[in-house]
Amino acid sequence: MLSMKSKRILSITFVLMAASLLLSACSGGLAASSWPGVTVAGDVAYVAYGSEIGAVNLSTGNLTWRYPEKVDARTTYYAAPQLDGTQLLVGDYANKLHSLDANTGTAQWAFEGAAGRYIAPVKILPDAILAANADHHLYVLDRQGQLRWKFETQQGVWAQPVTDENFIYLAGMDRQLYALPMAGGEPRWTKDLGGSVVYGLALDADGVLYVSTMAKEVIALRAENGQELWRFAAQGVIWARPVVKDGKVFVGDLTGKFYGIDAKNGQAVWSVDTGAPVIAAAGQTPENLVVVNEKGDVIFLTLDGSIVWTRTVNGKLYSSPAVGEKHIVVAALEGENLLVAFDFQGNQTWQFQFPKK
């Protein structure tokens, strides 16, 4: 016969097992997760993924520094880091916007005024930082991280805002496009887009906004007053930010189609089937585009839609390729390597994974 003590231990073990089973059942869907964010500036690629941020030498693929020194699993980073002179800005999934010394990776300051995740990369202006957050707010900070003002939307904002001299343009999951005065206050105009905006907001030098939505559309609007210029109907849902170059708008959709659209009238000039969903905005070299898709294809395209070369990396490519002077860096989710670099001829130059501590 079991003693009372043994029975008690047995009962507690049973309860703990039931608890762990319950927790593991929930955790499959609960883990806050995304894909790596990568940016290239000068000779350095900055990558944020999971619990770490790293600076990688673009020529060699060697790690220059990593942050934080001691990994805290509760803090995760996915938004692409943005360089502001000597400070690197990256928001985390806990609610903190971190400023790091770009040369050493040491922490400088943190803004903790938000309540949700930073999914969008911050936008850096000469005298302000725009930090859109999933807590339904845009936070406008000075360059030292002090809050100047904030603007509330109806849903989270995952797309990086764009700006001209006087206005901030903001689009989010609430299907609205807002034109906000740079100094704060009520929007000058608001436009219902008919579909949520995941990452898709761009502004060209002629003052035209291009917004891609989950309603399978790219919409061109005059930034001055929100007047709609044209709508382009894609085959699938669009997550990617449109890229504007040489009078054309380039964007991919979840069916795997990648389109070249005339920026004047919204007519498709060409389209290419990449064979898997395109989530990320295309990277731009001086004369070409780099398109990545879910099955790990890196496709080097001319602006008229001809494929120059295709390479395939192990993993899913959901992040926009970062392009340097001579390198294209792609960041893979669930792949053998976190980063893979190619030259413009399609030769793989290096690969990178955070070394184990």
């Binding site: 079991l2 029975k7 008690r8 047995l10 009962s11 507690i12 049973f14 309860v15 039931a18 608890a19 319950l22 927790l23 059942a25 929930c26 499959g28 869907g29 609960l30 806050a32 997760s33 995304s34 894909w35 996915y78 999934y93 949700g116 995740r117 999914i119 999933a134 849903q155 989270g156 995952w158 999951m173 609430d174 299907r175 579909g195 949520s196 995941v198 939505t213 989950m214 309603a215 399978k216 849902v237 997550w239 979840l254 989530i279 959901y318």
Partner: protein, 264 residues
């Protein structure tokens, strides 16, 4: 396979959401629907439990327990004989529970995945939605507001005169889990036995575990816990298996519940 299973739940949940336009109401209706569909399993489980309880009071059962106390092998053989003779399947009380378990887990995951608060979750959700039934582009963003809650975040009720938020849902989930477990615990013939002890431990720890989950996880999930508890109590009450007296600490465990009465 599992993804496809959860996918069915997600589509049903989102279909209800499309009809009612509020995710909180959709969770409530979805939980009721699932509990109704699994009701035959609950009934079957209760019947199995009842048979096992009856068996423990059977003279022949008590006899063989005493007779073969020191011979486990023989005891087991005799028990099996008695099961066969009385037409009892010893697994009949736990099998329906085991079948329900993946349904409950699928339901959790459907609620969480439908809330899709990160890019990975939204992409997963997009892949799960049946395009012939639903259009993800018209569903997103989900209206996740329900009463004072954002169903995608842990719930707190903020009152103007308090500097902190009150976790109302966590408190209610803890209380309802405790009440449910107390009401559903069948009377034990020998309170010192291992099964009764385990039940008591579960009754003590589970409410706190559920309360902790409700405190820290998205309130959409907490709402599911709460509705599920209420429906569970209602189901047992309709079947006449609720021991209301178990809620009163001073009384002895219910000896005159409908279940117990029939055995006297």
């Amino acid at each position: 396979m599992w993804d496809a299973f959860v996918g069915i739940f997600i589509n049903v949940l989102l279909y209800i959401y499309q009809l009612v336009g509020n995710f909180g109401v959709a969770i409530i209706l979805f939980t009721i629907l699932i509990r109704l569909l699994t009701h035959p399993l609950t009934v079957s489980q209760l019947k199995g439990t009842q048979k096992m309880q009856d068996l423990q009071k059977d003279k022949r059962w008590i006899e063989i327990q005493t007779k073969y106390k020191g011979d486990k092998e023989k005891l087991s053989q005799e028990q099996m004989k008695l099961y066969q003779e009385l037409g009892i399947n010893p697994l009949s009380s736990c099998l329906p529970t085991l079948i329900q378990f993946p349904i409950i887990i699928g339901l959790y995951q459907a609620v969480i995945q439908a809330l899709a608060s990160t890019p990975v979750e939204l992409l997963k959700l997009t892949g799960h939605v049946y395009p012939w039934l639903l259009k993800v582009e018209s569903l997103i963003p989900l209206n996740s507001r329900f009463l004072w809650m954002d169903l995608g975040s842990p719930e707190r009720l903020n009152l103007p005169f308090l500097s902190f938020g009150i976790p109302v849902l966590a408190i209610v989930v803890t209380a309802s889990t405790y009440i449910q477990s107390k009401l559903m615990t069948p009377p034990s013939s020998s309170p010192g036995d291992q099964t009764a002890m385990m039940s008591n431990m579960m009754n003590l720890y589970m409410p706190f575990l559920m309360g902790y989950l409700a405190l820290t996880l998205a309130s959409g999930l907490s709402l599911y816990f709460l509705v599920s508890n209420i429906i569970g109590i209602a189901q047992y009450a309709i079947l006449g298996k609720v021991n209301w007296r178990n809620l009163l600490p001073t009384r002895k465990p219910a000896a005159d519940t409908p279940a117990a009465k029939g055995k006297k």
